[in-house]
């Protein structure tokens, strides 16, 4: 039999290339109405009075007074109202939906809505901490009392997911059932949020996934807000309604990657890091939502790919009157890996050591303790991956040569990992994933809530089941999840889908195989945590993740001597993801993730002015085009994880994490100045050329 990694054509290619795949905005229902969102025009204050224009017949306003259940969007930390009841905490906070059959009429009505506010002074400074975490390892802070002390501060900016398909839902009622079709990552997050908003029973809400035009975390929690609003409107109006954002609205109001400020302090003894103290501040925006979980992931990653015995780790989520920030591929790790990779490089430079040799001397190995005193249980292939990276990219040679040359060329290398799956005991205590397989005659249907948002779930899961059963892939069925039919296998996030859900599906498939001759039957499996995984959430102690995927990126850049524009010339990427369930799919994801990571490091600029996001479309917010991209070489390493199907670990987020530090280090090499923040824009390079540190 062929190795499972051997690539096959994706099962949904034809519907996508021919334009037949149905995304939310492609769905039309009889008597369908459109919804526009009425939003605040101030960042902080109270609504005194709203004057709505007189509504023609068939037009409606829906606001908090129409909510039958709780006016809160159920996320992880529940503090976001569905519609504000008068308090405004950020610019463009949703107030109501304006709904009707004709978009032109809606636009006119929309312009006539008059709102009077009592404005208050908004807070944009990072001072109002709403979550604070702290943990130690080994000697903690006291390790910083001796040795040479080195301190630096690193900053990262916003990043917008910029999926090409904006957010959207369409909804209708089937007798008592509220049905929502959406561009979503997490059907059950949406369902549970809507149940709470409507005060409905479990069987009164149904959520169906449409084709999803990219998500990258952006469609993890934000869709629950839209779904609750739409569900409330459906209950009131009882007619199908479409709520689809235009690009500008999507850019201005949806969640983004948390900007961060990371302070590092290290004590050095015998050219080793004896102790490390780190504080991470992230801007949560106006609501907490997922920010605490994002912060945890960042904190846990504070040692980077290295083993450091003594740690003093703390962090805060700051509340500001800005658009709420949320999930984005990498989830706190990209911020931290940028910072720690730069810091380790800068420490080596200060000690007069070769940065790569220094990094190699402190690399984490199998059996070493993680930042939370968990253990890296599986083999760590980093030394072998680094050797290969040096060889194929000619890194050392280039690094020395570029330093000497007049033209501003540079090369940089990043070392990183990603903890696979939810942080801590999330899988065991909160998600409790369940999967179901239905065997009927010679066919098997996969019933899970995992969403194919481009990463190829439909193909890889069918392939997985077919491969285990040794049957044709056409005999395996996988439809887009519909909560009326699939059990809750958890959200499509955290690089957990293949490792956790796929692991369960593989177990269920083995049972189907054993019982193959029994005719038609159903097999269900529920997640069981491997025994050795023990984690104490409140003290950050134990194994925060069951497994780790690892990566090395090398990036070569050229900085224009006059404009300081950065051009990425070539990348080399090395990933240990356990086992690829389909090599070509993994390579495609790896390319896309690295492109996003590189752009996070030098290209994608987003900021706010008094709470207003300044980049409102794809002209202002620059993501890479084909012209910006270079050739990318990817090497995959096999290192099977015992509980993943065929040994697979997490793939989705890993490839985003190393891009920013690698490109930032390459720019350092090119310009001979230290880089402390991303994105490294031409303006920042100019500043560094004038006043930067060598």
């Amino acid at each position: 039999m062929r190795d499972i990694s051997t690539s096959i054509n994706k099962v949904d290619n034809d519907e996508k290339t021919s334009g037949k795949a149905i995304y939310v905005a492609d769905i039309k229902l009889d008597n369908m109405l459109y919804a526009f969102t009425v939003r605040s025009k101030i960042a902080k204050g109270k609504i005194i009075k709203i004057d709505y224009p007189e509504l023609p017949l068939g037009y409606y306003i829906v606001d908090y007074k129409d909510i039958p259940g709780k006016n809160i969007v159920k996320v992880i930390f529940d503090d976001m109202p569905i519609f504000t009841e008068g308090d405004i905490t950020y610019l463009y906070e949703p107030i109501a939906l304006l709904i009707g059959p004709d978009k032109a009429v809606l636009s006119k009505l929309f312009a006539e809505v008059k709102i009077e506010y009592k404005e208050e002074e908004p807070v944009f400074a990072w001072k109002d901490s709403v979550i604070h975490y702290h943990f130690d390892k080994g000697l903690g802070k006291s390790a910083l009392e001796e040795g040479k002390i080195i301190e630096y501060v690193y900053q990262t900016g916003y990043q917008e997911q910029a999926y090409i398909e904006p957010q959207g839902f369409i909804g209708y009622l089937e007798t008592d059932k509220t049905t929502l079709i959406g561009s979503i990552q997490c059907p059950y997050y949406v369902k549970n949020a809507v149940i709470q908003a409507l005060g409905a029973k479990d069987d009164e809400v149904r959520v169906i996934q449409a084709a999803v035009g990219g998500a990258f975390g952006g469609k993890e929690e934000f869709p629950s807000l839209m779904a609750c609003q739409l569900a409330v409107a459906l209950k009131k109006i009882k007619q199908p309604i479409q709520l689809v954002y235009e690009r500008e609205e999507d850019m201005l109001v949806t969640t983004k990657r948390h900007p961060s400020r990371i302070n590092f302090k290290a004590s050095i003894k015998d050219n080793k890091i004896n102790g490390l103290s780190v504080h991470v501040g992230i801007d949560g925006g106006a609501t907490i939502g997922l920010s605490g979980v994002v912060l945890s992931r960042a904190l846990i990653a504070c040692t980077g790919a290295y083993a450091i015995d003594n740690l003093d780790v703390s962090g805060d989520v700051y509340k500001t009157n800005t658009v709420p920030n949320g999930a984005f591929r990498g989830f706190g790790a990209p911020q931290m890996f940028f910072a720690i990779e730069m810091f380790v490089e800068h420490i080596a430079m200060e000690l007069g050591l070769d940065p790569l040799e220094f990094s190699k001397s402190i690399l984490a190995k199998q059996g070493d303790y993680t930042s939370t005193m968990g253990v890296f249980r599986d083999p760590v292939l980093m030394p072998e991956m680094i050797e290969k990276a040096l060889e194929v990219s000619d890194y050392n040679n280039k690094k020395t040569m570029f330093k000497k040359q007049q033209n501003l060329k540079g090369v940089g290398m990043s070392l990183f990992f990603h903890g696979c799956g939810f942080t801590g005991s999330g899988e065991k205590n909160i998600i409790k994933a369940k999967v179901r397989l239905k065997k009927q005659f010679d066919k098997v249907e996969i019933l899970i809530a995992a969403v194919d948002m481009g990463q190829g779930v439909k193909t890889t899961f069918r392939k997985l089941v077919a491969h285990i059963l040794e049957i044709d892939i056409d005999k395996v069925i996988f439809n887009n999840p519909d909560t009326d039919f699939v059990p809750d296998s958890g959200p499509t996030v955290a690089s957990r889908t293949m490792m956790i859900v796929g692991g369960l599906v593989a177990r269920a498939t083995k049972e189907v195989k054993d019982r193959w001759n029994e005719g038609s039957f159903v097999v269900e499996k529920q997640y069981e945590q491997p025994d050795y995984i023990k984690y104490d959430e409140s003290n950050f102690k134990g194994d925060a993740y069951p497994a780790y995927s690892w990566g090395v990126n090398v990036v070569e850049v050229e900085v224009d001597r006059f404009t300081y524009q950065v051009k990425v010339n070539k990348t080399w990427a090395f990933y240990d993801i356990g086992k690829a369930i389909d090599e070509r799919i993994v390579i495609g994801q790896a390319d896309g993730g690295l492109a996003q990571g590189l752009a996070y490091g030098y290209l994608e600029v987003m900021n706010h002015d008094k709470g207003k996001i300044m980049q409102k479309n794809m002209t202002d917010y620059i993501i890479p085009t084909a012209m910006d991209m270079c050739s990318m070489e990817t090497y995959l390493y096999e290192n099977p994880y015992a509980y993943g199907p065929y040994g697979a670990k997490g793939v989705g987020e890993l490839s985003l994490i190393g891009g920013a530090p690698a490109v930032a280090k390459a720019i350092e090499n090119a310009i001979g100045k230290k880089v402390f923040k991303i994105p490294v824009t031409p303006e920042y390079i100019m500043e560094l050329m004038k006043n930067g540190k060598d």
Binding site: S7, N9, K10, D12, N13, D14, E15, K16, T17, S18, G19, K20, A21, I22, Y23, A25, D26, K28, Q161, A162, Y163, I164, E165, P166, A211, V212, G213, G214, A215, F216, E246, R247, M453, G454, Q455, G456, R584, I585, I587, G588, Q589, D591, G592, G593, L594, A595, Q596, N617, M618, T619, I623, P624, T625, A626, M627, M629, S631, M632
Partner: protein
Amino acid sequence: MAKIKFTLNNEVVEIDKDLNMRLLDVLRNDFNLTGPKEGCGEGECGACAVLLNHEIVNSCCTPLANVMDKEIITIEGFSITERYRIIKEAFAKTGGVQCGFCTPGMIIATESLLNKNPHPNDFEIKIGLSGNLCRCTGYNLIIEAVKEAAKAGEGLW
């Protein structure tokens, strides 16, 4: 409102409409052709691309008036051709499709490019695709797909 006639996917059509309307809306709403997608609505992403007299245009920025007596081919019309078959097989073979939202536009861009330049080099391919944004793939496998299509479809363009 005014009557306007044009060729749409090889059929002559006539419609009575405000000529300032965006071609994209007319295609999607009046002709139910939802292959062209709206990604940005302002000419930046190329998800809405169609062929106008066999050149790529963004239908979100094309007023209906501009297509008077012209020929429009959308992905739906193009997908019955031999050239399409070659291109889609190339995309499948290289792995150029992820979420698929940019894909119809990318296929149209590929056709427009190969129609003018059947043997593009890497740089020409990048220029040819530069009006189409893709957030999933990092473009490399799409560029490979264009090369593959040019090779497999030798003589077709």
